[in-house]
Every structure is written in structure tokens, then in C-alpha cells.
Symmetry: D2
Subunit: 85 residues, 4 copies
């Protein structure tokens, strides 16, 4: 797996654009030079940042809820789990 | 699990700040009113956005590599897997 | 005569807006709180900053070109006079 | 006399910088490309925009207060004169 700052910046940039934060998107584009980095933006679907954060949350949930062998740990709950926690 | 736009905005805001994009952070703070939302920022560790995106990538990797019963699917590779793909 | 920073900020803000610098206008509005100052913006005509700078330039020209009694000083020229000089 | 938009932009840019509006100055620099224009910024003294606006106000005052021959028009006052009026 590879995670570069250029790729994270691109996801953040697209998020800002798609969410309507036009001024933030502009300033970030200039400050990070994100559109000049070698990122294949054309293949990135809308809401990619949100989708990947959701998957990250699902991964965390499984870390909390499951044993090594994949069985569910009794008594734990992820009802209150959110991005911030 | 809960994913609100306030929480995503807060993670993005912290990312901008911590990465040194001071102008983007300022403009985004104003444009999204993120610091006025009810987000418990104090409990968010540094690089939280990056960490959660990494976990999201790990989740995607497992979706590609594993069968329903947890066994590895032969012949597949995630060497070239990145945030953008 | 009175020159307050609120008034100068307002003229600058209007200049940014009218010139199409939409991002600069937004950021300046937030950073200076200009729209919350007690400035009677409704009576300010378009291009007010430019017009007043032009008059300032005319004033400087007269300072260069004229004696105390209003007669023209021989041999001086303002052909190359610009805002920057 | 010459008044170009590059020169006005430069005066505005310096004003934003010197007044401490660091985010506005940054965004304006990017949006207007002012630092790439052929403006001899090194010879521009601090507070140049303010000084020139002041002179513009003095010019307006003289237009209001003086006759063609330089004599003062009776009964007029510029006490309430400001940049905005």
C-alpha cells in the first residue's frame, strides 16, 4: 500500500470542491500545488475522501468488535463510535 | 457508527493546520464554521485524518485479498494499491 | 477630513469584489470584519478606490508642477508619473 | 500620468501585508499574480496606499472649497468629509 501526501492532498482538495467550499478549495490548490502533482485525478470518484474515511471507521469497528479468529467479542458496542472518537 | 460533515470537516481542518497550510486552514475555518460545531476536538490526536485514511486503505485491501471465510484469494496483489486507486 | 482604517478597508474590499478577485474579497471580508464596521457602503460608487487614487495622483502632480502662487514650474514634467513613483 | 491595474494591485497588496492581513495578502498575491507583474516594488514606501488616498481626499477637499481662481468658497465646510463620502 502507498499513501503519499500528494494523494491525501488530492482527496482533501476534491472534498473541498465537491462540498462547495470554493474559497478553501482555491486557496488549498495554490498553497499545496496539488493540481501540479502527479495524481491521476480523473479516476477518483466523487466523495472519495468520505468513502475512505467510512471504510476506516469500519476497520476500527472490526478491531474493537472482533477477536483474532474473527468471532465477536461479547459485551462491546460501537453504537457511539464516530470519526472523532 | 456515525459520520457527520462536522466531524469530517474537523479532521480536514486539523490536517490543514498540522500540515502547515496556514492559509487554507484559516479560510476553511471561516467557510465551514468548523470551530463552532460541536466537535470534541481536544480528544482528536495529531494526524487523525491520515491514520483513518490508512485504515480505510487497509480495509479496501482486505476486501480485495480475502474471501468471505477469511482465506486469502490466490493471485491477487495489492502492491500497487494507493489512496487514489 | 477623516481617514479611518474601516473606510480604507471598505474601499479595498469593494475594489477586490468589483475587480473579480472573489477569493481575495471573501478572505479579506473575514479577516478584517469590514462588513461589520459602521461604513455606509451603499453610498460608495463603483471604482471608488481607483477614482480616489487618481485624484491623489493629480494632487501629487500639482505639488510637483506648481509654485506656491499656482504658476507652473518651468522644466518639470509628469509624463512618467505613475502610482508607484 | 499612468494608472495601471498592476500598480493599483501592488499598492493594495502592500497595504494588506503591512496591515497584518496575512491571509488576504497571500490569496490576493495568488489571485492577481501581482508579484509577477513589472512593478518596481522596492521603491514603494510603507503605507503608500494610505498616503495616496489621503492626497486624493485633499484634492477632493480643494475641489469643494476653492473657486477657479483659488479663492475659498464661502459657507462650505469639509469637517464631515471622509473617504466614504
Amino acid at each position: 500500500m502507498s499513501v503519499g501526501s500528494d494523494e491525501i492532498n488530492y482527496l482533501v482538495y476534491r472534498y473541498l470542491q465537491e462540498s462547495g467550499y470554493i474559497h478553501s478549495a482555491y486557496v488549498f490548490k495554490e498553497e499545496s500545488n496539488v493540481t501540479q502533482a502527479c495524481v491521476k485525478g480523473g479516476i477518483v470518484p466523487p466523495a472519495a475522501l468520505i468513502a475512505l474515511l467510512m471504510k476506516g471507521l469500519q476497520y476500527v469497528e472490526s478491531e474493537i468488535m472482533l477477536n483474532e479468529d474473527g468471532s465477536i467479542i461479547e459485551g462491546r458496542s460501537t453504537e457511539a463510535l464516530s470519526l472523532i472518537d
